[in-house]
Symmetry: C2
Subunit: 488 residues, 2 copies
């Protein structure tokens, strides 16, 4: 059961955010999500409820990404929630990597095999793949599923960022050649970046993971990382080149054009509802949620302002204005018994990108006032121009949120070759690019010494001009530049 | 693990259906689904894999129904997979009804409460509702979720019709008044009927359930039932009026306009991936799948037929034809090394509603041949008229499948007041409308005596003109007419 106090949601509108983002970002983040009605704690330790506002953001992400999937001819399917225990064990690294956080079903019949709840679906899917794939004609096989995932985290729940159940997509593709396989693993991480940057206005870094941080069972992992305002990174998506590790473990073989049997190459890739939380943490402010227009379920809210005698006229004009904004998601808030001020606060809390205020005086002037949620800036426009100016305003907000985030992250991206300086910078809320040997024991040593600093992403090789550089931590030669930070 | 032989999927195209629908419908049904690649058995007892072809049908159902949800202002959300044991027990009937088929998580920490995997989400959702609902302003609250559901069936798996995990939607709405609540419970069952009839071409009967068959915890249940070709009924969707049973059990209260606290009224309603299986069983034939055009992921397949020297010309014309059919989902099957005949069989097996054959002679005649999957009928059309005739042809197929099903079901709907005749008719593959007292012990008696005949749906009251009629089974007065049959 949830701890007392975890579920202290205050009804939206009744009370604003009581702490500043700059003062206590963790408490601020929870309050924004709870009070705006994005999500709620569930009465089960480590679990959350995604409320309609939060789920609608996830739906927009799904809609966007389903189009990407279609362009790659990846098809959606659905595999079981349950994974037989023996399946995990077939790929040794994979089994070891996931075992601490796997949840199991109570067996009703002890003669039956123990079943896990999927922490990821490689093994259960690849068992089917081994039945379906016979010849080169069956390749590439490209399947995605949208589903719930269970990882029995022992750390405290952090809404969207860490919970025992979350929603995600997982793509699982099989190819004749390693070349195609790597090519697409690299393309999918770029598509993830496009999604984050264009839809959610989250600037991200993509690149390979070090060996310590790669997926259990992969040859290599591409990752997408974002820096949050508190200086912690969030891993927002990964694509794994699995090589033939799983095809060998699951007996996936195909008859090639050469009439010989071959093991195909595989990749897998996923992002989760964590995207929703990271977007919120990045853009929102002390008044509540700030949503990028492309991700917002309501893009414009019209607040009619009137005395009783002008009510009909103002409501009619508001409705007319709404209809003129075709292609934009507009809501007219015509609820009675609530003041305009109360409504302003509520829609600010809920992050609607543009608020339109429309009163009798505006109507007499054939005008309306638009207020930007991101900057608070107010501007008056002619009613007749609404259909022209509002889409432009929404684009501007989208762009401006992204640029603001880019600037902030650039400022907080540091570079050093000195270990002490690295730790100092990270403790100040930055992430730091450093030369690194890439070896597992060295990385474990860094994590231990610093109580949790980890490598996030390889940003580039050491160029020839730079000559030999030492690892930030050990005396060995550095292999590449890597961003280190604390992370969610 | 699956029994040996469960997973004997034959690659599509390699081998057709080997039994006739009229001879062994159960084996025929499995073969159609496995060989067409709609779904597969999972390596876990009682579970299945929904392959891309099957999942795309589910996606069409989701797209259709999400629009219905929007028109009722029902919003999508996501609640946890886990339900604390104590939650079930709060509504006594509900707990009793579901307990045999609930699956539980192995506890890692015995001090924590036992957690079930949701067999339905009333209890976990209504706990949150009790936090979110404060005043009449928060009502109606209308939430739906699309999710996976776990019911640990002990009966054998029947692809789509009975499995331990399935996908569904569950709507859960809360209202100030009982009147609104009942009104919408009755409207949602009509929307379900529209979905089945217009999208899937499945004729259904809707009406109330008897007390024995209503949802555990409901005041009453509306059901939607279809009659399958083997004479068994499938329950395809239900809407439940829950009254105040759950609001009282979960302390959901609201402050009314009268400033008094009240318990609101609730309904819940759902349909599942069972729809996909029923649609397939109803329309498909000895050659494989037959899909209603509105539910088909590929509506038209163009098979170019050519010798090597005409290849470019024919492929170019096929592509031109595809592009001319905008708004229709068309695939050009230009795969090499496969004969046209092989392709015909494959697309017949996969149920594509219209096949277009396009060869050099057709092109010279500015014509093409269209072949209907449902009737096998072939017709030649002018190439220039494709965009006009193909949509009409698809509509005709949709309509024809529905009418055929309506006729078949009408013929197999019998009426009697005689118990022996009822059983005889049911054993011949019909469902039978009979006068019934509606009492639980009487219904239990019928089920036992007949080894599984159950009431499906109340079709109407006994009219005054009919006077007093006795129950089909006992000496009591009949309350209403009810359809009885065997069922999946």
């Amino acid at each position: 059961m949830a701890k007392k106090g975890e579920s202290n949601e205050v009804k939206s509108g009744e009370k604003g955010i009581t702490v500043k983002k700059s003062e206590d970002i963790s408490e601020w983040y929870s309050q924004v999500i709870l009070k705006a009605g994005v999500a709620d704690y569930a009465p089960i330790k480590g679990c959350m409820v995604i409320r309609p506002l939060g789920y609608s953001i996830w739906t927009r992400i799904q809609d966007y990404f389903n189009q990407v999937l279609e362009s790659y001819q990846v098809e959606n399917a659905y595999f079981p929630l349950f994974v037989p225990e023996s399946f995990f064990k077939r790929e040794a690294e994979h089994a070891e990597g996931f075992s601490p956080e796997v949840a199991w079903i109570e067996r009703k019949d002890l003669s039956e095999e123990r079943l896990a709840l999927r922490p990821t679906s490689e093994t259960i899917m690849y068992h089917s793949y081994s039945k379906w794939i016979r010849s080169w004609r069956d390749l590439p096989l490209k399947i995605n599923q949208w589903c719930n995932i269970i990882r029995w985290e022992t750390n405290a729940v952090k809404l969207f960022l860490r919970s025992r159940e979350f929603l995600w997509q997982e793509g699982h593709c099989v190819y004749e050649t390693e070349e195609e396989c790597i090519k697409e693993a690299d393309e999918y991480i770029k598509e993830y970046k496009n999604l984050c940057e264009s839809l959610l206005a989250i600037p991200v870094k993509i690149g390979r993971k070090t060996d310590s941080e790669k997926f259990a069972g992969a040859v290599f992992t591409n990752t997408m990382e974002a820096l949050m305002p508190d200086g912690k990174a969030t891993q927002l998506g990964t694509t794994h080149h699995l090589g033939q590790n799983f095809s060998k473990a699951f007996d996936i073989e195909f008859l090639g054009k050469d009439s010989q049997k071959h093991y195909p190459f595989q990749n897998s890739w996923g992002f989760s509802t964590r995207l929703v939380g990271s977007m919120i943490m990045l853009h929102s402010d002390d008044k509540g949620l700030v949503l990028p227009p492309k991700a917002a379920p309501i893009q414009v809210v019209i607040i009619p302002i009137f005395r009783e005698d002008a009510k009909e006229k103002v409501l009619a004009e508001a409705e007319k204005l709404r209809k003129s904004l075709s292609g934009i998601k507009v809501k007219v808030d015509s609820r009675e018994g609530l003041t305009p001020g109360w409504k302003f606060n509520e829609w600010e809390l809920k992050g609607v990108p543009v608020r339109i205020e429309l009163g009798m005086r505006d109507i007499e002037n054939h005008a309306f006032v638009a207020c930007r949620r991101d900057s608070g800036e107010k501007q008056s426009f002619k009613l007749s121009e609404a259909a022209q100016v509002i889409p432009g305003l929404l684009d501007e907000i989208q762009k401006s949120l992204f640029e603001k985030a880019v600037n902030s992250i650039e400022k907080r991206t540091k570079k050093t070759a000195d270990f002490v300086e690295m730790v100092q910078e990270i403790n100040k809320g930055n992430w730091v690019e450093v030369p690194f040997c890439g070896e597992k024991p060295c990385e474990a040593d860094i994590r231990e010494k610093t109580e949790g600093i980890t490598s996030r992403v390889i940003t580039g090789n050491i160029s020839k001009e730079q000559g030999e550089t030492s690892c930030i931590n050990c005396s060995k030669k550095a292999r590449y530049f890597v961003i280190f930070s604390r992370a969610y």
